[in-house]
């Protein structure tokens, strides 16, 4: 997977060159499916934020919506998490992923209704699934709660995406040579693979005893590490050099980074089984692999911060870059802390505490969602041929996202650490410790409320933009708030 060409975004043979087809033409070919997937993803994001807010509130206010079966805490939590992962993340991955793939392979997407049908199926399957969770058909493994009957619908939908992906693959003009493409191909393939294995080994023909817990831990972590994270990394690798207008330094390390990430990430999930009812070598393998993951993470850091170095003044000017930078920092922080806290001395404290939730949010929101937001801010004006109508709403979204996630991760991280430390003192009663976390849980609820405001801002802005795009014909020469940096302008025409 070594690359002969340069990743210099200003050169003709770079992955950023469109090889003759106008970039706008490629974007146009992706327009309908990307808009469809992204707008439904946004609806799921709004729903899951609302559900998460209620879930968070129920934790410190048990009387809130209590005593009604379908409103019970466990169902809210499952519905919130699943609509976030399979709704927001799953659909936005397809939107962003195909847009990136089309651009990177320098070819128009084959025009076909297959993708839209897949999108409709996915949404219906998920809607049925979330409804089923509230009705009590949820299952008891994290991220696998969706009821039995919604699974085949989701699988059919994903298979259609796959069929279509293969079609797109065959029609491409460029060889798979850029690191973003590897991550995207990986993500699109890894997800169905881990999902089917988990379904079969946990529900179809369940393995025995706590081997189920191994499968469940392996799956849950890989949803993040082998599905969400690779897409976000691909987007960073594409957008960062493009926006900064300079190549990635030490790009030759990219293949080492990619392959070592792919190799070690799969093992990371079982680290949390430390001290659990499984053979000790399993969690040891997880701990070691989390430490090994620091190698690819260091390579990514060299690439990202190397590209950014000396260019931070650009971050203030570009909303895309601002979101991107938060995402990059969150990713680095999450990986380093995860490797560190996996060691047994730390596990003794943080295992089973709110720190786990803080980690989860840092990964799927601080990192993944922020990068997807960045991509959307860059991508949408180009797809719709118009600018984001309200810079104020963009700012509102950015600051709400940053403050909201800060409150959640900070609150639950710190509160969880204190909770864990106090749990190690047998003289403090369990309930006192649990009640001691209340201020932190309230902090997290505020965080969710602020996130909700941000998501509403994003949604409004997007809806306005889509309306504008319908009303005005695509303006070709209009200056966009998210325009390419001047260096690139020269080349793209």
């Amino acid at each position: 997977m070594t690359t002969a060409h340069s990743n210099d975004p200003t050169r003709r043979d770079s992955p950023y060159s469109t090889g003759g087809i106008a970039e706008a033409e490629i974007d146009q070919s992706t327009r309908t499916p990307v808009l469809f997937f992204f707008s439904t993803a946004l609806l799921w994001l709004l729903l899951s934020t609302l559900l998460s807010l209620v879930t968070a509130m129920k934790l410190h206010w048990p009387g809130f919506l209590d005593g009604v079966e379908f409103l019970t805490y466990g169902r809210f939590r499952a519905a919130a998490v699943n609509s976030f992962v399979y709704g927001w993340a799953g659909l936005s991955i397809i939107a962003v992923g195909f847009w990136l793939l089309a651009r990177l392979s320098q070819s128009k997407l084959p025009n076909s209704p297959v993708l839209l049908v897949a999108g409709v199926f996915w949404n219906i399957g998920l809607l049925i699934g979330i409804g089923g969770i509230f009705l009590g058909d949820l299952r008891g493994h994290f991220l696998l709660e969706l009821p039995r009957y919604s699974v085949p619908i989701l699988m059919i939908a994903y298979a259609l995406v796959g069929v279509w992906g293969v079609m797109a693959f065959y029609s491409r003009r460029l060889r798979v040579t850029f690191v973003s493409q590897w991550f995207l191909v990986g993500a699109f393939f890894w997800f169905p693979w881990i999902y089917s294995i988990a379904q079969v080994m946990l529900f179809g023909a369940p393995v025995r005893g706590t081997l189920q817990s191994v499968v469940a831990a392996w799956y849950a972590y890989n949803v993040y590490a082998l599905w969400l994270a690779p897409v976000a990394l691909a987007a960073i690798y594409y957008l960062l050099p493009k926006l900064i207008g300079r190549p990635i330094p030490h790009y030759y390390l990219a293949s080492v980074g990619f392959w070592s990430y792919a190799l070690f990430a799969g093992f990371g999930g079982v680290a949390k089984l430390s001290g659990g009812p499984v053979p000790a070598w399993i969690s040891t393998a997880g701990i070691i692999s989390l430490a090994m993951l620091l190698a690819p993470v260091a390579i990514f850091a060299v690439h990202y911060f190397g590209t950014l170095s000396g260019q931070y003044q650009k971050v203030g000017k570009s909303p895309t870059l601002r979101f991107l930078l938060v995402g990059i920092v969150a990713f680095m922080a999450a990986q380093v802390l995860m490797s560190l806290l996996a060691f047994r001395g730390f596990q003794e404290v943080v295992q089973f505490t709110h720190v786990q939730t803080a980690f989860w949010m840092l990964c799927v929101y601080g990192f993944f969602s922020m990068v997807i937001f960045a991509t959307a801010y860059f991508m949408m004006p180009r797809l719709l041929g118009t600018v984001w109508p309200s810079p104020t709403l963009v700012k509102t979204h950015f600051w709400s996202a940053l403050i909201g996630i800060g409150l959640i991760v900070g609150g639950l991280g710190l509160g969880g650490w204190i909770q864990g430390a106090r749990l190690l003192d047998p003289d403090i009663a369990f309930l006192d410790i649990a009640r001691g976390t209340l201020p932190w849980l309230v902090t997290a609820s505020f965080g969710w409320l602020i996130l909700l405001i941000g998501h509403v801002a994003l949604f409004l802005n997007f809806a306005l933009m889509a309306c504008c795009a319908c009303l005005t014909s695509p303006a070709s020469g209009r200056e966009s708030l998210f325009a390419n940096p001047p260096e690139m302008k020269v080349r793209t025409t």
Binding site: D137, G275, P279, F430, L431
Partner: protein
């Protein structure tokens, strides 16, 4: 194209490796554990779940108890689970082989439940306390953060004799509260959560073993 196929193979192998090493090897090494049979008494442990308990397992999943409770005891010396009364030894793989779906959980918003079936309750008898607690946790544990599950119980008019299963609750003249079948099933499942037998592989993971080690090498 060549590039594409290589990439595909590589990507496939990467995830296949973690699957093969963790899950397949796990399956080989402990996927077929049998119950442990005590030589002297001939009893087999862990005891299998009854049909009622198995239905209770479904109720446990349905109500999302797993989002707040773990079912795994850490070994003495790694945390203080035993001092909190959550079990005198670490729970090990064999303890779970009787369960069709294993919910070891990963967050403790509430206490661990792995040995709740043998745990003493502060008042009433075991079943009554747990019924009342599920019906309304704050009635027994002021300040509890657990949701209430009153829909597992039925408030009904007393016809003839009050039911022997009625909970000791005062809900107005002529009325009583009785557990539904789901409540009984859930309790059977909780009752099945116990660690009051020993297994050879857990002998080193008990409180006694830990205390013995502690005495030998004082800090």
């Amino acid at each position: 194209m060549k590039n594409g196929i290589l990439l595909f193979i590589g990507v496939f192998s990467a995830v296949a490796l973690s699957w093969a090493i963790l899950i397949l090897t796990g399956f080989q090494t402990y996927g077929n554990l049998r119950p442990y049979v005590d030589d002297i008494t001939g009893d087999a442990f862990p005891t299998p779940m009854t049909g009622l308990a198995e239905r209770g397992r479904a109720v446990y999943a349905e109500l999302g108890c797993v989002s707040c409770h773990t079912q795994q005891v850490r070994r003495p010396g790694f945390g203080v689970d035993h001092q909190r009364g959550w079990g005198d030894r670490q729970s090990v793989a064999r303890d779970y082989i009787g369960q069709h779906q294993v919910y070891i959980g990963d967050i403790r918003i509430g206490p661990d439940l792995r040995n709740v079936g043998e745990r003493d309750v502060p008042e009433f008898d075991w079943a009554t306390w747990h019924h009342l607690h599920l019906y309304n946790p704050r009635m027994l544990v002021p300040g509890s953060l657990m949701p209430s599950f009153p829909y597992l119980y039925e408030k009904r008019k007393i016809v003839g004799q009050p039911s022997s299963r009625a909970l000791p609750l005062n809900v107005g003249d002529g009325y009583e509260v009785v557990p539904t079948e789901r409540a009984e099933a859930l309790l059977a499942y909780l009752r099945n959560q116990r660690l009051d037998y020993s297994l050879p592989e857990a002998e080193d993971l008990t409180v006694e073993a830990w205390e013995r080690r502690h005495e030998q090498e004082p800090e």
